[in-house]
């Protein structure tokens, strides 16, 4: 038993060294494996019993949008330490950009893949426009400012009727052009969307990891740790923060374009505070600062929200869970609609999380060290050096 565990440890250590030295390659390998799993899983029993293939693929594609959003927000909140409560605004801007370029409302029909970059660029422009004058603010003040921006953007979309079709939003958005091997994007199956999403997430993850491991990534982390010390070490804090903000917005822009093309409708109510909040919660649950951890966290949280809660009643029905009667309380799991209590459950989960595992499910090394002072590593160090320096 011990031999097995030692072997597992060795394997993990080797895998870590490999992934640190060949980041892009290891991401490519991991994501390929994940892609195969995502294609195959819905067809095998425990999963195929919950729902059929297409709803699964649809859920995976939608989860991808949130994975992308969470990875983008992670740059702003997790790496650079800027609390952004209005992240959905950039998502909205990306979505509306695609809606303009591909709908009967504007009469345009531009190709999807170039628009992916245009949407991201437009979101980046707004990110810079918002960030340039305001990134001198710190902490709470910045959070309030982004919160305000996040509220303003959907309200602008609601009120500028002639340009955005108001509360009704822009409908009938055209789907992307057919892919070479996978064929048309049909409304019946989201398989192609899922494949495209996996590709986008893979590329985004590679690029973000490259930044994370570079001089820029270190500068972000330095600013998160101590802004004054970062400035006193030659980091132009305003520019570095602006870059984080712009990159976060860009990622949200990608997600927005994709989501608009998938839902074929954009309306302001898709971009209210709940979206910003959900993405922020995903970043926290996943493990702030750790790119793949945040992606995995977002994926899991989204699937719990979109699949598990929705199907929980039918699972209960399948298992024949009897209704519970305690005095006047009648609780029937089979007829209970869990999705109505989604945010309540979410809140409870977050509270438990903050108490029991504040660093998130998959924390980065720095966060784990920060929140668990007497962790193994620290203890080892202390034993190794003694307390000689504490004179």
């Amino acid at each position: 038993m011990i031999g097995l565990r030692a072997r597992w440890r060795l394997f993990r250590a080797r895998a870590r060294t490999f992934s640190e030295h060949h980041r892009s390659a290891s991401i490519l390998i991991t994501m390929s494996i994940a892609a195969v799993f995502l294609v195959v899983l819905p067809r095998i029993p425990p999963f195929s019993a919950i729902q059929s293939e297409n709803p699964w693929y649809d859920a995976f594609a939608n989860a991808g949008v949130y994975v992308l959003l969470a990875m983008g927000l992670n740059v702003v909140v997790g790496l650079a330490g800027l609390l952004d409560l209005g992240y959905a605004a950039f998502f909205a801007i990306g979505s509306y950009t695609y809606a303009y370029s591909n709908s009967p409302f504007s009469g345009l029909d531009l190709p999807f893949f170039p628009m992916l970059f245009v949407g991201a660029a437009v979101a980046a422009v707004f990110g810079i426009a918002l960030g340039a004058p305001t990134l001198r603010l710190r902490g709470d003040y910045l959070a309030i400012m982004t919160l305000g921006f996040g509220e303003i953007v959907p309200i602008v979309f609601v009120n500028s009727d002639p340009y955005t079709n108001g509360t009704n939003g822009i409908g009938g958005i055209y789907r992307p052009e057919a892919l070479p091997f996978f064929g048309e994007f049909s409304p019946l199956t989201s398989f192609n969307y899922m494949i495209v999403m996996i590709a986008i997430v893979t590329v985004a993850m590679m690029l973000l990891y490259r930044l994370h491991d570079s001089r820029i990534g270190r500068a972000w982390m330095a600013i998160r740790e101590d802004e004054l010390a970062a400035a006193a070490n030659g980091i132009n804090t305003v520019v570095t923060k602006l870059l984080a903000f712009a990159l976060g917005a860009t990622t949200a822009g990608f997600a927005g374009v994709f989501s608009a093309s998938k839902l074929t409708i954009v309306s302001p109510d898709q971009f209210y505070f709940t979206v910003s909040f959900t993405v922020l919660a995903m970043v926290i649950v996943g493990g702030m600062g750790n790119i793949w951890g945040v992606a995995a966290g977002a994926f899991i949280v989204f699937l719990i929200q979109a699949v598990l809660l929705k199907q929980l009643s039918s699972i209960a029905e399948l298992l024949n869970v009897p209704p519970i009667d305690i005095g006047p309380i009648h609780f029937d799991l089979v007829k209970f609609d869990f999705t109505e209590y989604q945010y309540l459950l979410f809140g409870i989960a977050l509270v438990i999380m903050m108490l029991k595992r504040p660093e998130g499910l998959f924390p980065s090394r720095e966060r784990r060290a920060e929140l668990h002072e007497s962790s193994e590593g620290a203890l080892d160090d202390e034993l190794a050096t003694g307390a000689a320096g504490d004179a």
Binding site: D213, S214, I216, A219, M221, A232, N233, G234, D381, G389
Partner: protein
């Protein structure tokens, strides 16, 4: 010997409190100069002015003969200059919109907005070319801390300000930030330049860690290092930016005599091996008197004495500042 740093008439007021009053101060190249004085004498404030953290109320600080820190001049002109190009474009767009050509108007609006954004970003980022351009209009802005680092100034803090949750190696690499040339685009594309620089900078960082006596501790998270090592790491981080002038704010505070002696030797080596000029704030008189070429004494924000360690030690004003006036 040329002066690395030259401060003239530097004054700093916080509201009614004069923290630093009319100080003239210069640091000759290759020397170790100490700044001493009782608590609250204004030493750290003066330090922070030199490092670009506080703007002085009056006075000028020249670094390598270049005027770096002073009160800003004609700062109001700067936003005006930013706004000029987009304003002109907006005017042109307005004229075009009068002709009723919708496409051209839309293009005009787009170009105007993008120009506004571009000038705003340049104004925030302040690249060197922009600063030279602004100087032509007689605009002077005091240097920010990061500008001072680029100019060749490294510093440590009185209360250690390491990036506590990053490894020792990463701390030193952050210190190297201003000397590395890879941009975010290089990093995204993982260009050969980026990879080469990443390797060489790690080698340099290891050398620096070895120099300060932290060999092999590169992977330790900074806050898990013993106190003395944290002080050393802060020095390594400051050295990483290849400074010409190193500001050390109480480097031996909280150290035991052995560690203090080690650190004193290290400071001596920094001068002899790296050719650094050092400005030191220190309370431990054995350190100050042992390695300083010149000592300046501050009290209540004013300079009360300056000279070699021996001269300062005998100065009645200094004795008075530290021990009080003898009873009559």
């Amino acid at each position: 010997m040329a002066d690395v740093l030259n401060a003239t008439n530097v004054t700093k007021r916080f509201g009614g409190l004069v923290a630093v009053h009319d100080i003239d101060f210069s640091i000759p190249e290759g020397s170790i100069v100490s700044l001493i004085g009782p608590n609250g004498a204004g030493k750290t404030t003066f330090f922070n002015i030199i490092a670009g953290i506080y703007d002085p109320t009056a006075g000028i600080i020249e670094f390598h003969g270049e005027n770096m820190i002073a009160r800003s001049r004609r700062a109001w002109l700067e936003p005006v200059l930013w706004l000029t190009p987009p304003a002109i474009l907006a005017l042109i767009t307005f004229v075009i919109s009068g002709t009723g050509n919708e496409g051209l108007t839309g293009l005009g609006i787009l170009v105007t907005v993008l120009t506004l954004l571009a000038s705003m970003v340049t104004g925030v980022a302040r690249p060197p070319a922009y600063q030279r351009f602004m100087q032509r209009f007689g605009i002077f802005r005091s240097a920010r801390p990061n500008d001072m680092v680029v100019a060749g100034l490294g510093r440590t803090f009185q209360n250690i300000r390491l990036f506590a949750n990053m490894t020792a190696m990463d701390n030193v690499l952050v210190g190297m930030h201003s000397r590395l040339k890879t941009t975010w685009i290089d990093a995204l594309l993982s260009t050969p330049r980026d990879r080469r620089e990443e390797v060489t900078s790690r080698v340099t960082a290891n050398e620096l860690l070895t120099l300060v006596g932290l060999k092999g501790r590169g992977d330790t998270v900074a806050k898990n290092l013993p106190y003395g090592d944290q002080r050393r790491l802060e020095i390594a981080r400051a050295l990483a930016s290849k400074p010409k002038l190193l500001l050390l704010d109480e480097p031996t505070a909280g150290m035991n005599p052995n560690e203090t002696a080690d650190l004193t030797r290290l400071i001596g080596r920094l001068r002899s091996e790296l050719g650094l000029t050092v400005l030191l704030i220190e309370h431990d008189m054995r350190v100050v008197m042992g390695i300083s070429d010149r000592v300046t004494v501050l009290d209540h924000g004013e300079r009360i004495a300056e000279g070699t360690p021996d001269e300062v030690r005998k100065d009645p004003k200094v004795i008075e500042a530290y021990l009080g006036t003898p009873p009559a």
